[in-house]
Amino acid sequence: EPEVTQTPSHQVTQMGQEVILRCVPISNHLYFYWYRQILGQKVEFLVSFYNNEISEKSEIFDDQFSVERPDGSNFTLKIRSTKLEDSAMYFCASSDRTPYEQYFGPGTRLTVT
């Protein structure tokens, strides 16, 4: 069964450093998403991406964040200058249409020290 994959599974970085989280969505999907879940809190929507552009973003997704689909298979989330409060589990998801079923990856745990 096709699945969304994410790398790395765990990333540790120092405050102020740039990080790139990578996702490979399901191959025939057209809609891509990033979410985050701070430990002990709810899953929060960050951004959605369709047709090579951001379709919607939350208040969390400020200028420190960017997304890109650099080739036909990867979807990346970049955090330009990490803060301690960026420590969270980041989930990538994809769907073949919206607002329907999204398939989630296993997540990348980001720890900012």
């Binding site: 709810k42 959605s48 939350s58 607002p99």
Partner: protein, 112 residues
């Protein structure tokens, strides 16, 4: 604006007894509603979805949910809990947009 409220942060049941996880939503339009499950250190797995077809939706692992528009509810049920059902459950709403709203989650404990 849409929102999701999961009425219980924790639910504890005994193995073999019924499960009820409650979810209420608020939406200006006809929503799509989902239940996802998250096992410890795992990603999110779709249990079931409602997308304006039958109001009683059957999902995986014996779970089902009923969409009740008059009560704005989408409660998740299972007739008989199994130890492997212990996990966190999220009710999710999506309204014809690219944005999906998660509830705060309900942690289900299953006692032997």
């Amino acid at each position: 604006a849409q929102s999701v409220t999961q009425l219980d942060s924790h639910v504890s049941v005994s193995e073999g007894t019924p499960v009820l996880l409650r979810c209420n939503y608020s939406s200006s339009y006809s929503p799509s509603l989902f239940w996802y499950v998250q096992h410890p250190n795992k990603g999110l797995q779709l249990l079931l979805k409602y997308t304006s077809a039958a109001t009683l939706v059957k999902g995986i692992n014996g779970f089902e949910a009923e969409f009740k528009k008059s009560e704005t509810s989408f409660h998740l049920t299972k007739p008989s809990a199994h130890m492997s059902d212990a996990a966190e459950y999220f009710c999710v709403v999506s309204v014809d947009s690219f944005k999906t709203i998660f509830g705060a989650g309900t942690r289900l404990f299953v006692k032997a």
